[in-house]
Symmetry: C2
């Protein structure tokens, strides 16, 4: 029997993560890998913002290592992802949806909608990426369509709505979720000039 | 005597903050207020990114409130501030300098320099804001100048360097640190068209 230095058995700290990886990658992981790919190949510089946390207490057990011992999650006031691509500011939110029939609006905060409206006004390319996990389909939805629907009567967007109003993002190995391809087509007049130079599918 | 609902006397939660406000606002506070001002007047949408934290343990004392009980600060892989202004992606780092004679490069991480190089290549307006606290002077330094100097021989930038190579940012009550004025002049051909419409000094 193996004795671990701290006397504890090793076990995955968060079981949910493990089970998610068994079912297939989460949207967040896919997007992180995709953004890493874009960064490595110098195609774009887009990052996920850190999770906003209210730090209350910090301990300093050693001089070098600060340990946060009390903190709370804060409600995000912006979207999760932003950056720059082909001279344009990029801003988006990503949501995973477990329903087969509709995407509920309560999963987007109202100030995230306000934020999308604001960055649109200032000239960013803004959108929402929605994955229907049950179908393993990932959609690119232009921000103005989400905003319009959000202020409408409905409390959710039917799956069928995405079939007509959104764009299915090509999925692959590298990059996993090639949303910049959609941006090239929708906003930037087709192919990126460096696309043939780079090893990009 | 006033009895507060929770039975506690009100007191500032972090004493360090109080003493800082006595000495004058920190650059971070100034920039947060400035960005709030830009946001409220719909001039720009620029935010500080949350501090990156590695969350290890989360407790759920009640169903609604998650409490983080173990977490660590991570080294940031990007700059602290970004957003969008007049159709341009904005990206910058802000540093306070307590020395009277020079700004030491060790206060900027190498991957932050790499990040600035990357966003410049992709078309962002990128820069570093440096405050010499002792003089209460806040400088706007174009990213390409910081990058060039960083890879040079010197390990710090003399205060005199800022006098010739950087631009002193106008300070005021509202906004506190009007760095967009510098951007208007340097990159966007002068005054913002909405400047006269808005109540902006």
């Amino acid at each position: 029997m193996i004795h671990y230095p701290n006397g504890k058995k090793t076990k995955p700290s968060i079981d949910r993560k493990l089970s998610a990886s068994n079912r297939g990658m989460t949207l967040e992981n896919d997007l992180n890998l995709t953004n890493d790919y874009y960064l490595q190949l110098d195609i774009a510089n887009i990052h996920k913002k850190p999770t906003p946390v209210q730090i209350v207490t910090v301990d300093y057990p050693t001089r070098s290592a600060a340990k946060i011992t009390e903190a709370y999650f804060k409600v995000p006031s912006t979207t999760d992802y932003n950056g720059v691509y082909r001279g344009k500011a990029i801003d988006f939110e990503a949501k995973e949806c477990s329903s087969k029939t509709s995407f509920p609006f309560h999963s987007i905060h109202e100030h995230q909608i306000k934020h999308l409206e604001s960055v649109l006004r200032h000239g960013a390319i803004a959108f929402v990426i929605v994955r229907f996990s049950k179908y393993n389909e990932t959609y690119f939805v232009e921000a103005h369509k989400v905003i319009e629907a959000y202020y409408g009567v409905k409390r959710s967007l039917p799956y069928e709505w995405f079939k007509t109003e959104a764009i299915l993002i090509p999925m692959g190995l590298r990059p996993h979720v090639d949303y910049l391809k959609v941006i090239d087509q929708l906003y930037l007049g087709g192919k990126h000039e460096t696309e043939n130079k780079k090893d990009r599918k």
